[in-house]
């Protein structure tokens, strides 16, 4: 058991928050880091995630506390004022909650291709250290996952989280389930520790950011009685764009025979049609395209298409917004 000489704080716990979406491995990252700190490095520590039901594609917040071995760990609440925030997907930076509680001496690590600096980052306090890493690209190249890359970056930036032990815990996690993945995770981790970019002059805020305040839209004076929702289909205002993992289905109308098979298998109800004829049964149906606001990128449409009209394409920046066909143009813009 190695004991690092330096932990940035000694009278409290060093707090890390992973901001992610189900399926990207933030929960596993937190668990690996916590286990490395407690079992391998002899710190006291905790890890837990907050998320809804058991499903992919929904927001996940993974919390890690690491502190001196003899400091009792009492706080069971989520990390409010983080020393580090690790952001697994740049689109999470559309939500201010992602960077809630960040101080001028905190560090924000985010996953994005080179040159992408989301607007939200400007709200950070001036002194906050901002670090970018293209974890998705490295993960794809190394056949690993973004969490391995991001752990490498974190460990490089905070040497008290020794890369030997974090990598050790990471390999141990995969050794049982996917022994073939150990080498690729190791490469991804090491690249994460080298290929990050420290950005300067990003934050323009003059004060630390407030901690997360969850304020429901309805309150006890205004919510309908008994939890009832007199709001049919208002899930249509949800935006599920962040559920996609870098690819989307693209329709080639020239190949489409408008057979309707894709519409029977699309779980996300995001295909948009137009019709001819005045009766209840149309004389002709035409597939206009996809409302990418709802598409989670399962590609059942691609698989089911008898003519190859749908294809799986990389989601280049802006592609979805440019080619989206709104399903409820009068209501949901």
């Amino acid at each position: 058991m190695s004991r690092p000489d330096k932990i940035p704080v000694s009278d409290r716990f060093f707090e890390i928050r992973f901001e992610s979406i189900g399926g990207l491995g933030a929960h596993a990252a937190g668990q690996i880091l916590g286990a490395a700190a407690v079992i391998r490095m002899g710190f006291n520590g905790a890890h837990f995630s907050s998320y809804g039901s058991e499903k992919k594609g929904t927001p996940v917040r993974s919390n890690v506390r690491i502190g001196p071995s003899d400091l009792p760990l009492r706080n069971a609440a989520p990390v409010e004022i983080p020393d580090v925030v690790v952001i697994f997907h740049e689109l999470l930076l559309r939500n201010p909650a992602t960077i809630a509680g960040v101080r001028s001496d905190s560090t924000v690590i985010y996953n994005a291709p080179q040159g992408i600096v989301p607007e939200m980052l400007k709200k950070l306090p001036k002194g906050t250290q901002v670090v970018r890493i293209d974890a998705l690209k490295i993960a794809v190249e190394e056949k690993s996952r973004p969490n391995a890359v991001l752990l490498g970056t974190l460990s490089a930036l905070f040497p008290f989280l020794t890369s030997k032990e974090v990598l050790g815990a990471l390999c141990e996690e995969f050794a049982g389930k996917h022994p073939e993945a150990v080498a690729s995770n190791e490469r991804a981790f090491n690249r994460g520790g080298k290929e990050f970019e420290v950005l300067s002059g990003i934050g323009t805020g003059t004060a630390d950011l407030p901690r997360l305040q969850t304020q429901p839209v309805w309150g006890w004076k205004t919510a309908p009685m008994g939890g009832a929702l007199p709001t049919p289909g208002n899930s249509a205002w949800n935006d599920l764009t962040t559920s996609r993992m870098g690819f989307l289905p693209v329709l080639d109308q020239k190949k489409c025979i408008n057979c309707g098979v894709c519409d029977l298998v699309c779980p996300d109800l995001c295909l948009v049609w137009e019709f001819e004829g005045t009766g209840k049964i149309p004389t002709k149906s035409k597939l206009k395209g996809v409302d990418y606001r709802y598409c989670k990128g399962c590609f059942r449409c691609v698989e089911s298409c008898p003519t190859g009209a749908f294809s799986k394409e990389p989601e280049t920046p802006g592609l979805a917004d440019r080619t989206r066909i709104p399903q409820f143009p009068e209501f949901v813009k």
């Binding site: 499903k55 779980p267 109800l269």
Partner: protein
């Protein structure tokens, strides 16, 4: 010892080792280390991981606990009761609705004085359904005659299990014991955990259960549970009450012995910085630890504050509270659940009652209901509580004696998106399927419009739901809804379809939707159906135009829900029950349901050196409903939409004209079948082509196979389907099991074909 000692390194006499584990994992490891004889359980978030952890260890041969998944929590409690009567050690784990569903059995267990251990990951009680933590479930259990230990963190969850065995089995006690830890805050939080590395020490501490009478001793026959009226019953209850009183002295003794063994000493009432405190915060479990952190800070500023948190809730340590609050001026009692109309939550009422017995105690009390439904308790919340208590101590006055904390009032101008325009009856009456009665056979014929034309049917489900990518539930719903004409009123059982469509304050349902729990969906919908008919008869619903009533169940909903659904079928209400069969409890993380086929891997039928996945065959719900002689029963697959849609059209016709319909549709679950998001079609096709999942119907008692892979030369071996899924790939190496599963598939298929061929079957 008045403070819970959570040492950084163990100082006890037993050898221990360090782990990094959650509360649920801690309870599971305790289960293994204690070596219970039997665990009867039923999965429910957030306690499920206790059974999952034990299942995984069992698969690897790490323990011999017999794990029995009940057909519901009520059944699980029954399994535990029977096992306890057999004289061995018994474990169960549950939460929220699980406690309530098992509730009837809890006083049976205590009333017959059968010790066992029940781990509870505390969760809020439905409705509205919320999977996160508060204490409303354990408060419901306060009067059941069980000893209730509280475990404030994962270490305590581990430790209290050992103490629970000893306390419950003590000769003067002989009562069942609950170990209650906070759902998610503790159940899902990984912490440094010390576990025994010393089986001999554990064995010595626990000894063995010496039941004075057991149901497995034919030489000494005993009648358990005789019929008992007054004047005897009150005497029986006095015995129970005395046992609870005896526990008052047994518990500290056991805690002391455990402390010597492990270095971790638990007081009955944890008193933190109370010696000279004039302001106290009384609060239970995980929140108490956060409060202690804040108490330190308040003390640094010169405030005389302390924290009181019980480690034992039953028997209630009233005497210790009385002593601890002897000199305080004010205390705030935080209750993580309300006793509506009871002037404060249960902890409040009991603390007030305790100090009221001391005529010299003038402590002012404030009650706060906080943290409901898993609302986090942060340091600044504890600060607010202390500030109010200090103020009351200073002035001798309290504002509102009983109040809620952490509310949002809401602004009249603020509301969520108010939804899409309701679908009119006209819009959803398009006759995409034309149903006619075949005069010669008396059975129905269905003609479908082409699939491209069907795209014009407006969807009764809006997009924007939160299902996993590739989820099969929505294609199933979409296909069913396409052919149903007119107004449709649905009831969904708890499950993925329910959770992902109704995350407050949004709903994906554009039509009237009702949720009820697994047990009672069909009963609830049958009540609604009959109210519709009666109100229509009385002329009270002139604008309602003959709606169709549909219940949607899945995720194992036909386990707990089977009884009431069979009841509704026997009564013959005009309604449809559609089960999407995704082969396990997917909404809680893929635990086995009785629908899970043999050999399939789930999180409670793990695969390892000792276990090959689920050990028994799947339940054939379609045949069970066929046996109720309802007019129409079918089995379909979302991979065969036209076949499924024909059956749904018939279902609507029968539900309108004759009575109850049951249908089951095989529904793809890429996450837990461990398949690609886009592989639904080949996997579903193989399920049908291998005859594992035959497509057929039983119409007015006559069985008809609607897709016969033999007849068209598409029949494939069962293993061709199994090898496509991650959850069954391990079976490829298990010749014996493959053979047994193939034999069962063949047997059920031959039987079906025989029925298909026979004019009367």
């Amino acid at each position: 010892m008045s403070k819970t000692e959570i040492r950084t390194t163990p100082k006890g006499t037993a050898k221990q080792k360090q782990e990094f584990r959650s509360g649920n994992e801690a309870a599971a490891i305790a289960g293994k280390d204690i070596g219970f004889h039997v665990m009867g359980y039923f999965p429910i978030t957030p306690s499920t991981e206790v059974a999952e952890g034990l299942a995984k260890m069992q698969a690897n041969g790490e323990h011999d606990v017999v794990m029995i998944a009940g057909d519901g929590e009520h059944g699980a409690a029954g399994i535990c009761y029977g096992a306890a009567l057999g004289g061995g050690r018994v474990l169960n784990a549950t939460s929220a609705q699980g406690i309530l569903f098992a509730m009837e059995q809890l006083p049976v267990q205590s009333g017959t004085r059968q010790p066992m251990v029940l781990d509870i990951a505390c969760r809020t009680v439905s409705a509205p359904l919320d999977i996160r933590g508060d204490h409303s479930d354990i408060y419901m259990a306060l009067n059941t005659g069980w000893i209730m230990l509280l475990a404030r963190d994962p270490q305590a969850a581990y430790d209290m299990n050992f103490c629970a065995v000893r306390i419950g089995e003590h000769k003067d006690v002989q009562l069942p014991v609950m170990v209650c830890y906070d759902g998610f805050f503790t159940s899902h939080q990984k912490r440094r955990l010390w576990v025994f590395d010393d089986p001999a020490a554990v064995k010595k501490f626990l000894g063995s259960r010496n039941a004075p009478m057991t149901a497995l001793d034919p030489a000494h026959p005993v009648t358990f549970g005789p019929y008992m009226n007054d004047p005897d019953l009150i005497n029986n209850k006095k015995q129970l009450s005395d046992a609870m009183e005896a526990a008052r002295s047994v518990i500290p003794q056991v805690f002391k012995e455990f402390g010597e063994l492990t270095g971790r000493f638990y007081p009955v009432l944890d008193e933190y910085r109370m010696a000279d405190a004039d302001s106290a915060l009384v609060i239970a479990n995980s929140a108490a630890e956060t409060a202690k952190e804040v108490a330190d800070r308040m003390r640094d500023k010169g405030n005389k504050v302390g924290v009181l948190s019980p480690n034992v809730l039953r028997p209630f340590p009233g005497d210790l509270f009385r002593a601890a609050l002897k000199k305080t001026k004010a205390c705030l009692i935080g209750d993580r659940a309300d006793s509506y109309g009871g002037e404060g939550g249960n902890l409040t009422t009991e603390v007030r009652a305790a100090i009221q017995q001391d005529p010299d105690n003038h402590t002012r009390t404030i009650s706060k209901i906080y943290g409901l439904g898993g609302r986090d308790f942060y340091a600044h919340d504890a600060e607010a509580f202390f500030a109010e208590t200090i103020e009351a101590a200073k002035t001798g006055k309290v504002g509102k004696a009983n109040d809620y904390y952490g509310l949002t009032e809401g602004e009249p101008s603020k509301h969520p998106a108010m939804g899409l325009p309701p679908l009119t009856t006209e819009e959803v009456t398009r006759h995409m399927a034309k149903v006619t009665v075949d005069e010669t056979t008396g059975r129905l014929k269905v003609d479908l419009e082409p699939l491209w034309a069907m795209t014009a049917m407006p969807s009764r489900v809006a997009p924007g739901h939160g299902a996993c990518p590739g989820c099969g539930i929505f294609p199933s719903l979409q296909q069913a809804y396409r052919v149903i004409d007119g107004d449709l009123i649905v009831l969904f059982h708890t499950g993925c379809a329910m959770v992902v469509t109704t995350g407050y304050p949004t709903t994906a349902h554009r039509i009237t939707y009702v949720h009820n729990l697994f047990q009672n969906g069909a009963a609830t919908l049958s009540g609604l159906v009959e109210m519709y008919h009666e109100r229509s008869r009385r002329g009270e619903l002139p604008n309602v135009k003959d709606p169709t009533f549909l219940m949607v169940s899945g995720d194992g909903g036909m386990d707990i829900g089977m009884g009431p659904t069979l009841g509704a079928a026997h009564r013959g209400h005009k309604m449809i029950v559609l089960e999407y069969d995704n082969q396990a409890y997917m909404n809680t993380g893929a635990q086995l349901s009785y629908e899970t086929p043999m050999g399939h891997r789930t999180s409670t039928s793990e695969v390892g050196a000792k276990l090959p996945g689920k050990t028994y065959h799947h339940k054939d719900t379609v045949q069970m409903f066929a046996a109720t002689h309802i007019p129409y029963v079918f089995q379909a697959s979302e991979g065969y939409p036209e076949d499924f849609m024909r059956k749904m059209a018939k279902a609507q016709w029968y539900a309108k004209h004759e009575g109850f319909v049951f249908g089951k549709v095989l529904s793809y679950c890429p996450l837990n079948w461990r398949t690609a998001d886009d592989a639904a079609q080949p996997v579903l096709q193989a399920a049908a082509d291998s005859c594992f999942f035959p497509l057929y119907e039983v119409e007015k008692g006559k069985t008809t196979i609607t897709y016969d892979p033999d007849a068209i030369g598409r029949r494939i071996p069962h293993s061709d389907w199994l090898k496509m899924m991650g959850k069954t790939r391990h079976l490829m190496k298990n010749e014996a099991l493959l053979k047994e599963a193939q034999a069962e598939v063949d047997r059920r298929w031959r039987r079906l074909k025989a029925m298909h061929a026979h004019p009367e079957l």
